[in-house]
């Protein structure tokens, strides 16, 4: 009888112990993965803070004996891309000049498209939407030649405006998809009520839809900014000396050095090129997750 009672109790206790052990095992596993993923960043940061001398003699994973920011300075304003030695600085501004208007315009047009497709249905709306979706999945390599022709005909070849144009066009598929999916969850009766109240197409968009859109705007901006900032293919194809984005400049710095490879400068340059997207994720990351999962709007 006592056996009968105490047995399940013991079982319960051992079950609890297994549970705790499993939890710790899981945490340990996650920790290992986190370290594994952080490793390259660690090597980049430490290498960028070392002198060339130290890199040659020391170990790859060792902390710098003497911290120096010389490599960062060189990367920012002194490193050579081919024959010019101005560092990343001018290209950093190029990328800003491309990314900011391109993100703004593609988000705005995406919102407008999504609004129309979700709430101002017209004949063929679904077909146009599917075609835009299709645009999301076309590999960019396919469009390089035709796009080069188009840019040439428009007189935008090799210019910052040309790159903005390309990024806006190829961003529209995704931005439209994001906004359309967000806006279909907004009840159509809101549009009807606003129509009866006398509001027109733009008024409804501006006064009712945009104020509701913050979560999806954050998602779209992060997505577009990352895409455009990190783009290399369009940047290298449609730019010329003086209009190259930072990704192209980074490539040139790393690949066009002569003599000793300056790993510390390369690492610093790579980090500089990645910082803005990192910054955007840190600042707006929590809205990103929230925006992706946000659905219905409760009136």
């Amino acid at each position: 009888m006592t056996d009968f009672i105490s047995n399940p109790d013991a079982k319960h206790k051992s079950g609890k112990a297994t549970k705790i052990a499993l939890r710790w095992f899981l945490l340990l596993l996650l920790l290992i993965f986190a370290l594994y993923y952080l490793m390259p960043l660690f090597v980049m940061v430490t290498t960028s803070l070392k002198s060339l001398e130290e890199i040659r003699t020391g170990s790859l994973v060792a902390l710098p004996r003497e911290v120096t920011f010389d490599a960062w300075k060189t990367a920012w304003s002194g490193a050579c891309t081919g024959i010019q030695c101005q560092g990343l600085q001018p290209y950093f501004w190029n990328s800003i000049l491309i990314a900011v208007p391109a993100v703004f315009l593609s988000t705005l047009f995406g919102a407008m498209n999504g609004y129309i497709i979700a709430h101002w249905k017209f004949k063929g709306a679904n077909l146009i939407f599917s075609m835009m979706l299709f645009g999301c999945f076309i590999p960019f390599q396919v469009v390089i030649l035709p796009m080069a022709r188009v840019l040439g005909m428009m007189g935008l070849a090799g210019s910052i405006q040309g790159l903005i144009f390309v990024h806006v066009i190829y961003g529209l598929g995704f931005t439209t998809l994001f906004f359309r999916n967000y806006y279909v969850s907004i009840p159509g009766e809101l549009v009807k009520a606003a129509k009866v109240d006398g509001a027109g197409f733009f008024r409804i968009f501006w006064s009712i839809f945009l104020p509701l859109s913050l979560p999806i705007i954050v998602v779209t901006v992060i997505w577009q900014f990352t895409q455009i900032w990190n783009d290399f293919l369009f940047g290298v194809s449609f730019s010329q000396a003086g209009t190259q984005p930072i990704t192209v400049a980074l490539n040139n710095i790393v690949n066009s050095t002569t003599g000793v490879k300056e790993y510390n400068v390369d690492m610093a340059a790579a980090i500089i090129a990645a910082l803005p997207t990192l910054f955007v994720y840190v600042v707006a990351g929590k809205y990103f997750i929230r925006g992706l999962t946000a659905g219905s709007v409760k009136g």
Partner: protein
């Protein structure tokens, strides 16, 4: 004076499906028109057509004598209350109510005055600075009404405004809408699937089914003299008893014979309706069947029937008996001593009877 709303030969198609077929409606100023029918009957579509939110395929819509067929919703001088309330989620209650005036460029003084007026009328003054998300269902409903009221329109349109409320609140708001209609003397069109709402609110009821108007009339007409089997069955709760019967001429009157299981047929004599075909469906409301001792009158006929089921419902007790192959409900007073299995003498008030053609479902008397 021209009717406040006139719908003439309205047709609405979605693709190749005909949703509304040749709709004709006309109401006078101050009328409360209720469109009622089961879901999918086209009543909400019709309301949207009147509002101009759905283009119509054929026909015309007049509001206060003006042809509004091709006029946009904002210029039709209407206000609308929606089922989901459709309050603008990012705006405060006050801004929700004044949005329409702001869009139309009404000066701020007038906006403030009208807002205060409506807020007092609907008792939502403490809520003016809150967002719709912070309000209860009833409060949202009031705000939605407020948004319509500030407009001071020729025609109010309501699209199932009470169906998202719980039962108790629904009855309260129903009374409030009725009071509002009475106080304002406004003309209203109201869509509902709830026949009790239709009966309590309307001055005119339009019963619809599959895009076709079944009957237009006052609540009393719709309830007392339904034009076909659908209306008879749809309006009223519990529903009208519709019993298969055989009619034969019998001197000055008509002999009505209703078959019963395991006993002789029930025979009634109708002295008013003489020109009936052989097969009819006899319609009697539950309240027109009572205990023999409780009802008398020139058209009242009594017969003994077997009590099947007894359902006390508080104010009344419903008693069922099997007639013509169907359970027939009688509405008895609460203190009735009727027991299942008992033989009870019922009074059938043939003064209130309806007859229908079994094939077409049309009314015969």
């Amino acid at each position: 004076m021209s009717p406040i709303l006139k719908v003439k030969n309205l047709v609405k198609n979605f693709g190749s499906t005909e949703v509304l077929k040749d709709i004709n409606i006309s109401i006078e100023s101050g009328d409360f028109l209720v469109l009622v029918g089961p879901s999918g009957c086209g009543k909400s579509t019709l309301l949207n057509c009147i509002a101009g939110l759905e283009p119509i395929s054929a026909g015309e819509v007049f509001i206060d004598g003006r042809n509004m067929t091709d006029v946009s919703p904002k210029d039709r001088d209407i206000a609308m209350v929606f089922q989901s309330y459709a309050l603008y989620p990012t705006m405060s209650v006050a801004k929700n109510i004044t949005f329409g005036m702001k869009v139309r460029g009404v000066d701020t003084e007038t906006q403030k005055r009208k807002l205060a007026e409506v807020a007092r009328q609907l008792q939502i003054e403490p809520e003016l600075n809150r967002r719709p998300g912070q309000l209860s269902g009833g409060q949202r409903q009031r705000v939605a009404m407020g948004r319509a009221l500030v407009r001071d329109p020729k025609l109010f349109l309501f699209d199932e405004p009470l169906s998202n409320l719980d039962a108790k609140l629904r009855v309260e708001m129903r009374t409030e809408i009725k009071r509002l209609h009475h106080d304002l003397g406004a003309s209203m069109v109201y869509v509902t699937h709830d026949q009790i709402e239709a009966m309590t609110l309307a001055t005119t009821i339009v019963v619809m089914k599959s895009g076709v108007i079944q009957q237009i009339g006052t609540p009393a007409e719709i309830y007392g003299r339904p034009q076909n089997l659908f209306v008879a069955d749809f309006m009223g709760s519990p529903a009208m008893n519709l019993i298969k019967a055989k009619a034969t001429k019998n001197g000055a009157g008509t002999k009505i014979e209703i078959s019963r299981e395991n006993s002789a047929p029930l025979i009634l004599t109708d002295t008013q309706n003489t020109n009936l075909p052989e097969n009819v469906i006899l319609g009697l409301r539950p309240e027109d069947i009572a205990e023999a001792s409780m009802r008398s009158g020139p058209q009242v006929q009594t017969a003994t029937c077997l009590v099947d089921i007894v359902e006390p419902a508080g104010a009344d007790t419903y008693v069922m008996s099997k007639l013509g192959g169907k359970e027939v409900t009688a509405r008895l007073h609460a203190e009735t001593g009727a027991q299942p299995g008992q033989l009870l003498e019922f009074a059938f008030d043939l003064g209130k009877v309806s007859y229908f053609e079994p094939e077409t479902g049309q009314r015969l008397n």
